[in-house]
Symmetry: C2
Subunit: 217 residues, 2 copies
């Protein structure tokens, strides 16, 4: 199980923190607003009232086992940026930051955070796509219990065609795409006669159970 | 081409409005903040400065050809709710509303809006899933040019098995799931021997072109 630090308990930080805790991870939740901290404390490992822009605050926390820190401070670019800088200075290797707007996103890219999230923009774009084409399904909600993963080609499949390995009928997973590496090319919905190479990367859709079985078999 | 009314030009409303306009639709963008209206006016059909909570404002607009109205007013539940009520009273049939928080979402459900969007919560949950399982792919971005649609079973496929109709190799689309209606049941990743009935609904993943061909053939 992993350890996460979540800074900023607005909608994004709150739902992220409680979900990670529900999945069995250690979650330290931090916000300067004591009501929000009080509200979340039974749903995470530990919740503290603190100002993430204060370097002393961040350096006083025991962060050596933190796998990832998520900064979801809204409304104020500089507060979010200061929090990110404090985390980087305390040696946190993996930072996810929520962007407040497009300029903020560019600054976060320059700071080298590992992942930038911009929920309002991404969902606005997929909502526009669905208003444009009402047949499109909003696939975010229907994917509970299912996922799409990347997997290197298992040894026993190298040199075989998709028809031969028959993944759908044997494992209940679908090969949605194959990423070829030399040259780099993404093949969506590969045909049955596609022969797998050891450098290929499979992009598989399936149930958590089916995908799990693919990874371990 | 359709007509859309977008109320509230924060990140969500802004990106939604310009995307719909880029896809060729008529977009009327409205906000009480004149800077935001000025900023967007070259990227939509028309942009106006107005207060969406004022019933006179909404009733003075020519809304009879509006296919859908999107309310993305943030920070204040009552402003968003008043805007929704004004739209409903002026006869708008399809409303998309962005939720500010969970209580707001429940109120929007009670008001009967056709679609509620809660980007921060949805993306927080999918981000948590990916932090929990780093193999999971963030499939929102990689889906450009591809989509998932629902389609009733074409007549010529009724009574045939998936093996016989061979969609992947013939149309370049994948049947990700089949929704059976009687009783209602969702089959993910159906096996090749599944025989299609006229009441089934296909859930297809494919390129815009492949899906388009499926719909018209
Ligand atoms: N310096 C800080 N230290 C700790 N927490 C902070 C600091 N500055 C702001 N916050 C907290 O960040 C949280 C998120 O900020 P805010 O609600 O403005 O963002 P938001 O982007 O609108 O949130 P969301 O979209 O996730 O609902 C708030 O709960 C706020 O108290
Ligand atoms: N009564 C109103 N009439 C028209 N526009 C309004 C009204 N009230 C608020 N707005 C506008 O709604 C927009 C969105 O509000 P705000 O930026 O607070 O929301 P937000 O949820 O944080 O936005 P986002 O998450 O999309 O960035 C603002 O540009 C604001 O000017």
């Amino acid at each position: 199980m992993k350890q996460f630090l979540v800074i900023g308990l607005g909608n994004f930080g709150y739902h992220l923190a409680i979900r990670l805790y529900e999945k069995g991870h250690d979650v330290l939740a931090l916000d300067k607003n004591s009501d929000l901290v009080q509200n979340i404390k039974d749903h995470v490992t530990q919740a503290i009232v603190a100002d993430a822009t204060d370097p002393k605050t961040i350096s006083s926390l025991d962060l050596k086992d933190i796998d990832s820190a998520i900064v979801s401070i809204g409304s104020n670019l500089s507060n979010s940026i200061l929090a990110v800088l404090n985390l980087q200075e305390s040696g946190i290797r993996h930072i996810v930051a929520k962007a407040i707007n497009d300029p903020h996103m560019r600054i976060l890219e320059k700071l080298g955070v590992q992942e930038i999230s911009f929920p309002e923009k991404d969902i606005a774009i997929s909502t526009a796509e669905r208003l444009h084409n009402p047949n499109l399904i909003d696939f975010l909600p229907f994917m509970e219990g299912y996922g799409i993963i990347e997997l290197t080609v298992p040894d026993r499949f190298i040199g075989k065609s998709l028809r031969e390995i028959n993944l759908t009928n044997r494992y209940g997973v679908q090969i949605v795409a194959i990423k070829e590496m030399v040259p780099e090319k993404l093949h969506f919905i590969p045909k049955a006669d596609f022969v797998l190479k050891n450098s290929d990367i499979l992009i598989l859709f399936g149930s958590d159970k089916g995908l799990g079985k693919m990874k371990t078999d």
